[in-house]
Structure formats: C-alpha cells, structure tokens
Amino acid sequence: MSAADTDSPSRNFAHQTVDYLRSDLRADAVAGLTVAVMGVPQAMAYALIAGLPPVYGLYTAIVTCVIAAVIGSSSHLVTGPTNALCMVILSLTAHLPAKYDITLLEAVFFLTFLTGFVQVLFGVLRLGGIVRYVSNSVVVGFTAGAGVMIAANQLKNLLGIDLTGVHAERFHEVVIATIQRLPDVNPYAAAVGAVTVVVVVTAGRIHQRLPGALLAIAIGGALSYFLGWHLPEMGANKVDIVKDIEPISGKLMGFSVPSLVASPNYELTRELGLGAVALAILGLIEAASIARAVAATSGQRLRYTREFVGQGASNMVGSFLGCFAGSGSFTRTAVCFKSGGRTRMAAIFSAVWTLVALLLLGPIANFIPKAALAGILIVVAYSMIDKHHLKLSWTSGANPRLVLVGTLVSTLLLPLEYAVFVGVFLSIFILLRTTGKTDLTQLVPTEDSSFEEVPFNQAAPSPVVTINMEGDLYFAAAEDLDYELLRSLRPETRVVVLRMKRLRAVGATAMAMLGHFWELLRARNVHLVASGIEEELAEVLTGSGLRKQIGEQNLFYADNRLFQSTELAMARAWSIVRHEQSTSGVGTAEGASCPHIRARDLVSTRSIRFGYQHQLREAVWLMSGLLEHSKALSPEPLFLQSREARLYGELSPWAALRTLAAKTKSADAVDLSDADLAERLRQDLATSIATIARRDVGDLYADATLGEIIAQSLELDQSVVPICHDDGRLQGQVTSEALLRGLDEALHKLGEEEPSD
C-alpha cells in the first residue's frame, strides 16, 4: 500500500472538516439554537404528558437527539420527545408503580429500553418496508386522537384541578372526572394557563419565527413568580411549579443501567412487550414519515434500515441516561430545516444548546408554573388535530375514512398502544382487500382489429367470451373467482378466452381456482383458451399440471405486441367454434377474420418428375433441355419419384451444380480454359441422383394453408415446395413467387391494403 493510500482517508477527513467549518458550521449552529429555543419548553411540557417531571423531557431532547443524528440516515431529522409517544408512555406505564411496586421512572426507562431494542430489531431485520404499508390516515387519526387525549389530560393542570387519587385513564373517565371537579378550579393557575395560551397563539400570529412557547412560559412564570402565586402561603390556590414536581438540578443525569434492565421482571416484561412494539412502530412511523417529508425537499436518499437502527439506538442508550422514548419531532425538524440547518450537526447543536439551557437556566426553570406548560400543551393538542389532513382522509374514499375513524375512535376508547395496532391492522386489512382483488372486464373485437374493453358481463352475447383479468390473483383474490367468471357464460358461449397478461402474484390457490373453472367449463362442454401468459405464470401453470390439462394448443404466450397473443387466442377460439358448427351442421356465425389461401390455390401441376434411379448426367441433360425449351428464368427442381410413383425427393439445380463443381475450386481453376474446366466438371456425371437428392421435402397436401407452406419452405430452405396427393404421389409444386402472390392476396382480403394488379 502506498503512502498516498494510507494518508488519503485522514486527509479527506481533514478537508471535510475544514470545509464544514467554513461553510456549514454557522448555519447549523444558528438552526440548532432556533430549535432549542422552541424545543426546551416543548420538551418540558411533553414530559408532563407522560406524567414525568419536565427535566426528563430535556434529557430526552439532548441524548436521543445526538445519538439518532449520529447513527441515523436523515441529515435533518431532529429526534426527541414527541406528544403522541408521550401519550402512549403515560397509557402504558401510569398503572405499573402500584401493580409492581416500582417507581414510574423505572417503568418508563425499561419501556424505553424495550422500545429501542424493538426498533433496532426492525432495522437489523430490514423490516423498514412495513412502515410503507401503514396508511397516512393511521398517523392522522392517531395524532388527532392523541391531541384530544392530551387536551383532556392537561385541562386539569391548566385549571389547577387536583385529580390525585382519582382513577381516570380513558378519555371519557378523564373528562368526567375533570367536569366533576370543576368547582375546585384554581383561579390563579387558570389565569396563568389562560395567559400562556393567549401568548402562544398571539405570538404565532404576529410572526411564525417568534418563540411563542418560550415567551409564554416566561410571561406566565413571571406573573406567578412576581405575584407570589407559587408560594405555600396561597394555600389551596397555590400555583404548582416545576420545582414541586421534581426540581431541576442544572446538571445531566448520570449514566445508570435501568434497574429493570439489570434484573428483569418476567411478568412486567410480558405486560410491556406488546406496548413496546406499539411504541416502537409509532416512533418509526413518525420518524420515517417526517424524514421522508424533509428528504423530498432536500433530495437526500434515505436508508430506512439505518434510520431505524438510529432511532432504536437512541432510545436504548437514552434509557441509561434518564430519557423516555423519543422519536422524530415534526415541528422541531421543520424548524431546523427552515432555519437553514444544512447537516446533521444542526440537530446536534440543538442538543448542545438545550444542554446549555439546562445547565445555566435550570434553577430558573424550576419556577415555571405547571399551568403554563399545560397551556402550551393545550395549544399543541389543538394543532395536533390536523384539519386539512383529516378532511383529506375523510374525503378520499371509504377505505381511508374507515382507517381514520377506526384509529381515532380507538385512540379515545382503548389504551393507546392498542389504538396503534388497530390503525396498523386496519391499514393492512384494507391493503389486502384492495390489492387482493382481480378486476374483470371483457374484451370485444372492434372493426379496426383492436379491442374495446367493456365492463364485466356487459358484452353482447357471443360464442366467444373474452375476459380480461387484471390485478392480483393470490389466495385472497382467487376465492370464488371461478364462479364469478362463470357469470359471463351465455347459452351460446362455446369458448372462454382468459387474457391473463396483467395478473400478478398468481399462487397455488389461484391455480386450483383456474383448474376448477376449467372443470366447470368442461362440464358445460365449453372450451377454455388462455392468452397473455407471462413466463412466471407459465411456470406456475406447468407446475400445477394445468398447462397439460388445458392443452398447449389453447395457451398463447405474451408477445411484445399488445394483444398479439389475445388476437391469436381469439382466432383459436373462433376456429373451435367454426369446427363445432361445421361438424354439427350449423352455419358459421362470425369471426372469419383471417382469409385462408390453401395449397390448391397456388399449386402448379407443371412439375418435372424423374425417376430417382438415374444418374446426374441424365438429370443435367433433362433440366437443361427443359430450360432451353421454356426459356424460363426461374429455376425449378426435379422431383424424384419412386417406382411406385410416390415422391422420393428433390434434386435442385443447386444440388446438381454443387456436385459437378465439388472437386474443382475456382482458385485452382483460374487459368483453366472452359474446355479444361469441362473435363473436370464431368468427373461426377455418373453420380446417382438418389445419393445427392434431398429427401426431407415435407409432406404437404392440397389443403395446406399458406402459413404451413411458408413455414415449411423457410424451415427446409425450399425455393419450391412439393404438394402431394393423399397417396404420396406428387400433385404439383408451389414456388416462392406463388407464395408471395398468395401472401399478397391474403393481405388484400384482410382488407388492409390495396390489391396488386
């Protein structure tokens, strides 16, 4: 290895670093600061959703953000606490401390670890594609439902109502409990909450870039602090502040292995397992959809496997550093990108600025009123009800509407982890129902030799029914399709042509269905012809034995030209119909689209017959004499016959000349006079023509069609094709010129071209 090779990676890294410092550092630092200003109060408030002290929201915003940015694929995704995930965390863990004699934090950290583990597993097993099958309506419905839940849950904090000791987890329980305690509203807390809401809303209306949440908690906090509403002297009207939940110490939580990870509780793990999977899926859906939305603008190519591993790793590591499960945050990611963040360093900077805020402003943050955080969350909850996308899902048809309503309602009525599964299940169910369907239409030939596609079962009655099958034909779609196909049959139907060109996912069940359909047709004495058969389908047909059952003569394989194989299948179908009608004495109805020129129309009986026992000398003399007599310019062979006058073979002029010249090469005969040449060519005149005649001259009769004669002439390279009687005697010959004339006539009859005179 050369020195240059060894140095290049480090040199490249140095160059990249210098480039970054020069061009992107400032933009990323500013974007990170903007995200932190907006994100710090948000992170604290989201922790409140999960029922945790606000400081854990900050830890999550720092740790998960850095790890996901370093490991993940997206260059712009900002990871951290998210409202929907926090809602699920609350739903999953709120009841655990009482049940297992553990603290809420222990349960949350363990859940976070499990969630991260599942996400890493999704990444490693390359299950990223699954996310694509989850409808957008699930995310819209779940987020809206979570928004309603958050609003309901935060109403008590906003109004200063104490629900301690009241069991209220589901939406209706929370709403009822809050309404029942309305007389206990703390007017001071309500005032702080109202001010916060007004400031957040107003700031957003004045300017999009104004840090409304930060201003709101600053103003709300100042109001409470300077009027002394947070002091114990206020008695029952005391406004709760962050310090009352758990003081922010102004330092990071140290590294510690979650107790339940160190010594797992089997029962708890079993109980939390399903929830962890739901949380993991929800987190991945959020992260993937947000990263995809930004990548659509930035042009970055995402690798979902890496993104999933990044998300999982951030949660696993985060659980050791006091974090709860986080994911990609839409608002913080959008702010980061719009604020000019260019690289993944912008997200890391947002974490750094959050850390700075934690270290420097921690003591001040302790005086933020809980009602102020609740006020922010009420506004967030309102924004989670995405009216535009809700309307879009509602008006996009029955399927998205079903997913939307199903997810939203189950979010309000069921534990949130189940709501996620309901949404995913509904998505996959509808996906299968939509894709697992074979669309049937009918093809009707038109006058210009193409096909018109008409709705299934609405074509005019005809002996030939052509059905176009499109879509998937796996087990879900195949059920009852045979009986559905049978509906196209009419009393006059003699042949069913199935065009299978656009079928996908044809499996064993579909083959069984087709086999059954074939049997049903056979029982009705109706024939089955299939067209547009692709290679994959042909293999399945062969493997199932159906290819043999239907018969190779009834199968037509997909060609490059559109409808080519279907045209042939139709011709085959009409051929069957005509045959049946001719044998039953019924007149031909229609479909005689292809004009047929037969050998009898082209044959010339002026063939030269000769005994096969003669010598070449005699053959040459005969042929030359005939040529001299006729003055013809087109060569014709001698047709050799056996003693019984049956066609034995053919001696062409080329074969005769080739034999004469076999022993003399032109290179050796340059200086020869013609007399000398003649002497050489005479050497083989005594050759028996039986030894040089070709025997493979085919066996066509007077009713051979143009296609058969041309096919044979090409296959055997014949310039003249012999036509025989049934007993093997030569009837005549068809020359290449006659074949071309026949072809011209047939094309003329087909009506597409002007006739030749």
Binding site: Q553, C594, Q613, L633, W654, A656, A704, L740, R741
Partner: protein
C-alpha cells in the same frame, strides 16, 4: 462457343430496379406484378438515389428476410388457421419498413468478368436464383441460375451424354 464463359455473356439486363427507400409492401407488390412478365427476371435490383447497387430481392429472399424472426409457438403451429393469422400479422407489422432495412445481407456479387466456376460457387453458396453483376458500383445485369445451369450443362455434356438411357438399369 467462346473459350471462356463470363458473367457478361450470361447476364440479363432487362431487370427492374426499385429505390432503397421503397416500402416493403411496395416491393412485395412489384415482385408479384413481375410474375406477369416471365421474360423478365423475377427479381428487383435495389438502388440508392444515385443509381448505385444496394442489393437485390426475389420472392424467396423477401420471404426470408420478412420472416427471419418468425417463430410461431407450438400452439400456433399446430393450428393452421392461427398460423395464417400469425403470419399475416408478422408480415403486416413489417409492411411499412424500407426495403433497404429488409435486405438479406452478405449476398455475393459478380463482375462482368467473373468466370463460370466462381459464378457456380456464388449461386450454390447462398442458393441464389440470380447473381447480380456489378461494374463500378452499378448493376449491369443479373445472371439467372437457369442460364448458369444451361451454360454449365452445355459445357460438360457431350453428344454422347444426351438422352435418358439408364432407365434405372444403372441403379441398384
């Protein structure tokens, strides 16, 4: 009898030409029309816009080039009516192409001085009914196989070879 037979003595010059840009369907019709005049060679010499020889085509060569890729599958071959339909489809599909793109490539040509034996070799090699004769890039005529055969027969057969005398007696 001349001492040495050459292409210029065997060629016919009443051949018909066609432009290299002509459509295959036109060439097909022209070849069919030629059948009405058996005294003319059933072949067309294809020339460019300066009259230079580009190739030649007979009924057999045209069928071969038009149907070079015609390989009907078994189910089609087994049904004569389908085979006809398939054949017409393929020919129709190629009707509009220029004859210059449908010529059989690599066919031999002679010069007016080409002698009998090389002419025989050329005709046999590609089983040609005609051998084009070129001079300075332009066709001067076509040597019909029939004339080539007749000249060869005249050369090799002596008066003693005439007639059918064996009557099968020399064949066992």
């Amino acid at each position: 009898m001349t001492d040495v037979i050459r292409a210029r003595e065997l060629q016919v010059t009443n051949y018909q030409t066609m432009a290299v840009d002509a459509q295959v369907s036109d060439v097909r019709r022209a070849l069919v029309e030629l059948q009405a005049t058996p005294e003319r060679p059933a072949a067309l010499v294809i020339v460019d816009d300066r009259g230079n020889y580009v190739g030649f085509v007979t009924a057999r060569l045209l069928l071969k080039s038009l149907l070079a890729l015609w390989a009907p599958q078994k189910s089609v071959r087994d049904d004569p009516e389908l085979l006809d339909r398939h054949l017409l489809d393929v020919v129709q599909a190629r009707s509009d192409i220029r004859i210059g793109d449908a010529l059989v490539q690599g066919l031999p040509t002679a010069t007016p001085e080409t002698r009998l034996l090389p002419l025989i070799e050329m005709a046999c090699e590609a089983q040609l009914e005609f051998i084009p004769v070129l001079d300075a890039g332009k066709a001067t005529g076509l040597v019909p196989l029939t004339r080539l055969f007749a000249a060869t027969a005249k050369l090799v057969l002596t008066p003693g070879d005439e007639g059918i005398r064996s009557d099968g007696q020399n064949f066992t």
